[in-house]
Structures are given as C-alpha cells and as structure tokens.
Point group: C2
Chain length 417, copies 2
C-alpha cells in the first residue's frame, strides 16, 4: 500500500474525479444558477408521482454507471426538482439564492467535517461561536451560550428540555416520572413543533396549554395569565412560555414585553420561537416588532428562512452563562471528549448537544454576512416587508380583493437593493 | 417591480454571482480535491485557538466585503481546516472523499429544498423512499418504513420514541407520567447517544440498564436476561433493547440472533444501532456479523460513516407497516399537510418526523450508489476490513506492539480497488 493512496481513493483517479466535479458544477451553473433563477423558465417541471418514477429510473443496482450517465442523472434531478431560487417560488418561508451562502455551502460540503471537537473542526468551532455571539448581540445579550441545531423544531425542543432541566436537574437521571406534572404555554398560532416536541420529550401534547390570540394572531397576555392559573388549579407546574416572533401562517409577532412581565413575575422560562422573525432584528426599522426579546431565556432563530442562508441554519440562543447547555446535554463520552487535550476542552462543543456528529451550519451564514455586511442583510429584511406592503397596495386597487389583515411592520419602498 | 427579478436577487447581478461561484469552485478543486487528498500535504495546518482567531478575523461587521476578500476568506477557511479527505486522516469513523457523493451534495445545496412535501421536493420524496427500500432490502425486509434523520443519535431517539409509543400510544398525549416506569437495555459498549436520548426523551438516564459485554466487547445475552429480570423485580417495564452492530470504540458486533430470541420471547422492541456497521450488510463476506438483523424492529444506519456519503446521511429503518412513524410523530399541521391535494398525500412524508424543514440527505447516497453500484460499495467495505487486518499483520512483525484484540471480520487482500 503506497502511503499516498487515500483509504477511499477518488476512484483511484483524481483527474477523473476532478473532471466529473467540474462537469457537475457546470450543470449546476446552467440549470440552477441561470435557468433556475430566470422568470422565463418554469419553477418546476411538474410530473405526477407515477410518471416521475418512470422518468427517473431510481432503482439502485449492483452495477455502477459511467460518468456520462451520472451527469445525465444530475441534469434530470435538477430538471424535475422545484427551483426554490426562482422568482416565482412562493412556498413555506424561504426562497431565493444567495451566491455567497451557496459558496459557503459548497466549501462546507467539500470539507465534510463534524462540529464536535476543536481538533476536527478548529475553524468552525471558533466561527460558530462568533456567529452565535453576533446573533446574541442582536437579541441584546452581551454574554450567553448557544448552538446550531438541525432546524427550528429541534431548537424549540432544546429550549423546553433546558427549561425543565434548570428547574428539575433530577430529570436528566430520573426522568419525568420523578417530577410533578408540567405545563407549558404557547399561543393558538404557534408552530406545530411545540406540540411535536412536547410529545417527543415525553411531556405529552396535553402539557401544552394553548393561549388565545387577538384578531391579528398575537398571544393575549391576559389569557396567558388565565391559562397559567388554570393549569396550577389542575395541579400542574407551569415552567415555560413559548412566544412566537413571526407566526407561520399570519406572520404575527407576540407582545414579548407583556409576556416577559408574566414570566418574570411567576418565574417561568421565556422562550421565543423567532425561527421566522428573528432576522427582523437586523432591521432598524422593524426590530421593534421583537421589543422585549432581550428578556427571554432562549431564542430560536433560523437564518435559513428570511436570510436565505440555506437549509439548515438554525440557531438556539441562550442568555444563560452557567453552562446549562453542557450540563443538561453532556455525557462526557471518554473516547471523544478526552479531558487531557493540549487546548482548552471547553472548545469541544459537541457535548452541548444531543447529537454526536453534527453538520457545520455556520459557514454559509458567516460568509454571506462577510460579503453583504449587516447593512446588506438589513436591506433584505426591509425589502421583504416592503414587498408584502407593495402586494397589499397593488391588490387594493383591484376588484375582487379584500384586505383581511394588514401585514406586520410598516410599508417601505420596494426595490431598494 | 419587474416580474423577472427574484425576491433576493443574485446581488442584482447574475453574472457576478456566477463568476464568484466559479472562483470558489476553483478554490475547492485546488485546495480540497487536489491538495487535501495529497499525502505530501498536511492533514491540517494546526493553530492554537487564540492564534487561529487572530488569523481568521471572524468578526461580523456592518460593511460588506469585496469578492476578492471573500475568495481569500474561502481559501483561509480551507487552509486551516482539517482535511477529512486526506489519506492520513484518522479520526472518528469517517474519512475519504467520494466524488459522486460530493457531486450529489453540491446539487443538493444548489437546489436547497426541504423534504416535507411532494410538491416542494418531488424528486427527493421518491428518491428517499427508493433509497430506504434498498437499505431495508439489505436488512432483509421486503416492506417497512423509514426516514433520514439528522444523525445517528436522533435516529436512535426515534427508535426509542416509536417503541414506547407502540406499547403506550397514550404517551403522545398524556406523557410519561401516565405510564409505568420504563426500562431499556443496551450494552456497556453502546454509543453514548442512548443515554443522551433517554434524558432528552424524558425517560432519564437511569432508565437505561447496562448489559455486560464479553472480552470482545459484545453484549452478553445471558446478562441481558438477568438485567431484564432485575428491572422487572424493581417495578420497571422493559420495552426496548438497543443492540449495537459495530461499537464505537471496539468495533464489536452484538450477537443479534441471541438478543432477538430474548426480545421475541419477552415481547421487547429490538433496535439495532448499526450507525457504523450497517454498511457491512453490503459485503457478502462480512455481513454475517449482523446475522439476525432482519429480526429487529428498527435499525439506525449511517452511510455517512463507512460508505463516505458525507455528513449527514443517517437512515432510520423500520419493519413496521402500520404507519407507526406517522401516527407517532404526526400532527397534521393544516397549513402544510393539506388533505385535498391533487396527489396521494401519503407522499407528504414531513409528518413522519419531529422536524419541520428537513434537509435532503438521500441524493448524495443515491448518486454514489448509481455510480459505484452495489458491487463498488461492497469492495469498499471489504477493503476497510482488509486494511484493518493488514495493520494488525504489519504491527505483529514489529517489536513493541502487542495485539490486544483482533478486529472483527476476516482478513482479506487490501488494495482490491
């Protein structure tokens, strides 16, 4: 065995590998970057499932295929996929294509490392901390903790798990049966992950008490207090309120200060699910929608939505400075988190999470931020609000349309960027 | 607003975006594909944390930077990162670079979609099902269910959550307090995610009963029976055994048939954590190490490890055909999973998972499989075993080395591929 041969060689032929990757990249440029973002092309070449199955020849066989065939497959995969970068793509909460974020994603994929220790991800351990620090600063915290999670649902679960652990550290060893019945509170318009999370974490969906919303879809703080009293009267221990900054369907921003008042008075953990709306903190014009967020204990914020960093980019931010994240989730696996390394083992952030291997999710956001600057990102957020208001104004002029609800924020001039 | 302008334009300048991406791709080819895989280069340009922080200038500012600066940053990020594709990279359970898998990752990132519904991911919904079907066939199942998860730890959690839900469907609504105390069983050499998962799911780490291993690191089935009796005597209800096929530290394969006998007799859910060793099923020579896996209820298998598909690629496979996954995790969010679509809504697989947005993790594996064929992947697995034995034989010839434990599997001829 020659020393120079990698364990899994590039097919034993680095030049062929390089040529293949160049060809695939060329296809990406033609089919995604150019055609995918052109309004004169389709968002999707739609096919019914049975027909698409036939077209794609998905079956995996014993025999491999030649490069030409593989390239044709890449073209087909792109051809029949939805172009989320297309100007007419309007689906759930994300769209567009930021070239710097995509550049960051390509570099991430080529390096293919895991985020658990400094020795295997030196750049990304430091970078993640810097990005989290910046997001925390926008929340209004000069210190704290945090981690990137695989999506907002899991970020929300982390918050719930941390809140119950902080109140009942016993829970980690002895489980929920050792605890009194718990209750958490969120609004009728909250994201469905709160209930999914409660089930997954063993609390059960019944532990989620639903608070009324006003005509705009915002949580009613008076009803929150009422629900808390009700839960207590039924023998449950309220421990967490999950407010939503930017609800999924109506785009409503819960009144955080009023909710924080209740939480503070009653000693409840305040989580803000700002998966969608967190990025509004970048806008001087609109960030008042999240006034009071600095009083939260935890915030879930997904730059893969409004900021178009690319799926997945979901930060859980914590005000805590007591190492709660590591105490709650840590297991000190000795094969991975040795304590006698030649650097500060606090940098081995892998024990903060419930995952082991964990993707690098910070680079795409970091690179995009470096390129656009906070100012560039701010313009994007303002532009998104401006476009929502532009649509309202345009439709008002037309017959057959009636405004059911005004968008959040204020109107602005679209087309700033 | 011209119709042709995307919401977030490519900086308003598609050509500049394309040029940037071409340059970044060129850097990836030079620095990762060429230098990163060359044994005459370093695995990592190691720097102490404080020095690296200075070198990288990580701070995120208001002002954006010019393209040249961004390209320089990409080069630096790669320069100071660990090259997991390097022939001398020996860290945790993965290494190497498969060009087809990387091609699949680049296409995935460029399309940037979420796996929740057929309408937003038509190709990938069908492809994920086909890949899962193939993995299930290798396990020995002609039917079943499954899903890609963000890593093996979460796949293992899914298995535990499904097992408790199957036995106590009430748990979803009413939580663990409505259930008797539960006990699950795994070996001393199991992955630490089993305990982390038990804490996260609200069971508590004490619910994990540790079974003895033999001198080779394999679970001792007689001790499993003893631990089960002990748990029952203490008033707990045993509900799941997590066997390990390829333990993290010793690479041991638990005796699945003997463990399945116990599970079958006592009516326990058998989960196999084959995150590392699942890929051995591709090898006719070595797959006997997992004999009995077809008797499991669930299997966690990470092609991002032994098969080098790229992080993250982690399948949870289920023998169940009763829609358990969807019943356990589903919440029927009406804004996303409308029931009146023009296609079979069973294809909206997003309600099978506890995430909402979910990355596409199937394409990289599918494309690599198409290119290499099952035969090519089999050669890789055989090669990995052969190399382990080769190392043993070489070191036996040298003074100062003593063989503490033989590797699993049989010796073979290294350098087959």
């Amino acid at each position: 065995m020659a020393d120079s041969k990698p364990l899994f060689s590039l097919d034993g032929d680095p030049l062929a590998a390089e040529a293949l990757l160049r060809d695939v990249f060329g296809i990406v440029v033609d089919e995604v970057i150019r055609k995918g973002t052109s309004a004169s092309e389709k968002v999707c070449e739609w096919k019914e499932p049975e027909e698409l199955k036939q077209l794609l020849d998905l079956e995996l066989r014993s025999q491999g295929e030649a490069s030409e065939q593989i390239l044709a497959r890449c073209r087909e995969v792109i051809h029949y996929s939805v172009k989320t970068c297309h100007p007419h793509f309007f689906n759930q909460l994300f769209s567009g294509l930021d070239p710097h974020a995509l550049a960051g994603r390509i570099v991430t994929e080529s390096l293919n490392t895991s985020q658990y220790t400094y020795e295997i991800a030196p750049v990304f351990v430091l970078m993640e901390e810097e990005v989290l620090k910046k997001l925390r600063a926008l929340v209004g915290w000069s210190s704290g903790d945090g981690v990137f999670c695989p999506g907002g649902s899991i970020s929300n679960m982390y918050a719930v798990n941390l809140a119950r652990y902080q109140r009942y550290p016993d829970c980690k060893q002895r489980g929920l049966r050792a605890l009194p019945p718990l209750a958490l509170f969120t609004s009728k318009e909250c994201h469905y992950s709160i209930k999914k999370g409660a089930a997954f974490l063993g609390l059960g969906t019944n532990s989620v008490r639903v608070v009324k919303t006003d005509e705009r879809g915002k949580m009613v703080p008076e009803d929150l207090e009422r629900q808390i009293s009700l839960a207590e009267a039924e023998g449950a221990v309220p421990f967490l309120v999950s407010a939503t900054s930017g609800t999924t369907v109506l785009g409503a921003f819960d009144p955080l200060n009023a909710i924080a008042d209740v939480c503070q008075r009653l000693g409840l953990w305040l989580h803000v699910d700002a998966a969608w709306g967190g990025s509004v903190l970048l806008s001087q014009t609109h960030r008042h929608l999240l006034d009071g967020i600095q009083r939260a204990d935890s915030v879930a914020w997904n730059p893969h939505k409004l900021l178009t960093a690319g799926l997945q980019c979901s930060a859980l931010l914590l005000r805590d400075t007591s190492n709660l994240l590591r105490r709650c989730h840590g297991s000190q696996a000795s094969y991975l988190f040795q304590q006698d390394k030649f650097y500060d083992v606090a940098l081995d952030t892998g024990d903060k999470v419930v995952q082991c291997g964990r993707r690098v999710d910070c680079l795409k956001l970091w690179l995009m931020w470096k390129a656009q600057g906070g100012q560039g990102l701010e313009r994007r957020v303002d532009q998104a609000f401006a476009l929502a208001w532009y649509l309202v104004e345009e439709l008002k002029k037309r017959e057959g349309f009636e405004l059911v609800m005004e968008p959040a924020g204020e109107a602005g001039e679209p087309g700033l960027q």
